[in-house]
């Protein structure tokens, strides 16, 4: 499933903060959950959908470094202004939801499996 296809299946509980240019071609691999950036940096699989509550600029840095497909900021956690700006600059897909991390991950997992 591509990122574009996933997004078309998301309901109103999800808000798209930024979309990447390659969403049409980006084949999603799996869901990854982690809130420690140093762990995510070493373990986030390429093309994954990463679910986290960390919405700062370094989250975008980790996405860029690990080549994740999209990051979902769960629990209605804040995405700071610098992070949102950096996501646009770095062409990183960012989605936001009020759902807890587990429900978010499960929802995405069910959609892309």
């Amino acid at each position: 499933m591509t990122l574009t296809e996933l997004i078309s299946k998301l309901d109103e509980r999800f808000t798209i903060i930024n979309l990447s240019d390659d969403a049409d071609q980006r084949q999603l691999s799996k869901v990854f959950c982690c809130d420690l950036l140093s762990f995510a940096m070493a373990r986030n699989p390429a093309d994954s959908v990463w679910v986290t509550v960390m919405g700062n600029v370094n989250t975008i840095g980790v996405m860029s470094l690990t080549d994740g497909a999209a990051v979902i900021i769960a629990e209605n956690a804040a995405i700071d202004e610098i992070a949102a700006k950096k996501a646009v600059e770095q062409n990183i897909a960012v989605i936001k939801t009020a759902l807890p991390v587990f429900e978010t991950a499960l929802t995405i997992h069910e959609l892309i499996k």
Partner: protein, 242 residues
């Protein structure tokens, strides 16, 4: 005497710090604003401390060698030292405890060592924003062996703070000074975290850009304007009405 301070400022060595935040610009800006005491505290490195120190002497600003350490739990802790030598030794120790992940300048930004004349001497290859292998509960004793003190940074922040990442202040903590980002939250934070009752509470800019360095609006009561006096004050429990 009361002295104005800003003890948490990032230079161009921090990946997220502005490339314009050269030691000369930081100390020059502090002097221009009339700050008495500053500390440049880059993420996991004291690499620009020596240049800052030289410039501090030149500009008449007291500069405290420092670092913003990232613990294994990704809690940020400002560490301050009595002299450059101790700070540099601690910096070397922290470097050996950094995760072996290289910086990606496009993703995180440049990590530049600069001298007092604005020359970029070299860049740091390992990503400095990353966690180290040092746990929060080990910081006090480790920093003490380098004659330094620890100050948990921006404890009211929703990420990278002791409260956000650990949930509470570990009751066996030993620090005597804590940094709050929004000083208006002070009373509420003390109410929720009784440990802070005995702490000196300070607030700094955490400036990553020159324009964000604080104006001289925050003051410390010190016997004299010296690093020893400052660190001794921070190292003692806060006593009301002192």
């Amino acid at each position: 005497m009361k002295y104005s301070y800003d003890l948490h400022i990032h230079s161009c060595l921090s990946p997220c710090g502005s490339d314009d935040s050269l030691p000369s610009n930081i100390v020059g800006m502090a002097a221009l604003k009339g700050l008495d005491i500053i500390a440049v505290t880059d993420h996991n490195s004291c690499g620009n401390s020596r240049a800052v120190d030289k410039l501090g002497n030149e500009y008449g600003v007291l500069t405290v060698p420092g670092m913003e350490l990232t613990t294994a739990e990704e809690v940020h802790v400002v560490c301050l030292f009595h002299n450059i030598e101790s700070a540099e030794e601690f910096s070397e120790y922290v470097h050996s405890k950094l995760l072996p992940i290289e910086n990606n300048e496009a993703a995180f930004g440049k990590q530049q060592f600069a001298d007092e004349d604005d020359n970029i001497i070299k860049t740091e290859p390992l990503l400095l924003i990353n966690a180290t292998e040092i746990p929060f509960d080990g910081v006090y004793d480790i920093v003490k062996t380098y004659s330094g003190i620890m100050i948990p940074a921006h404890i009211d922040k929703s990420s990278t703070s002791v409260l956000s990442n650990m949930g509470f202040i570990p009751p066996d903590s030993k620090f005597s000074t804590a940094e709050i980002k929004h000083i208006g939250y002070k009373e509420r934070l003390i109410g929720e975290n009784p440990y802070l009752n005995d702490c000196n509470i300070i607030t700094n800019s955490d400036a990553h850009y020159l324009e964000d360095i604080n104006e001289p609006i925050n003051f410390l009561e010190l016997r004299e304007k010296s690093i020893d006096c400052l660190l001794d004050t921070f190292n003692k429990k806060y006593i009301k009405g002192r």
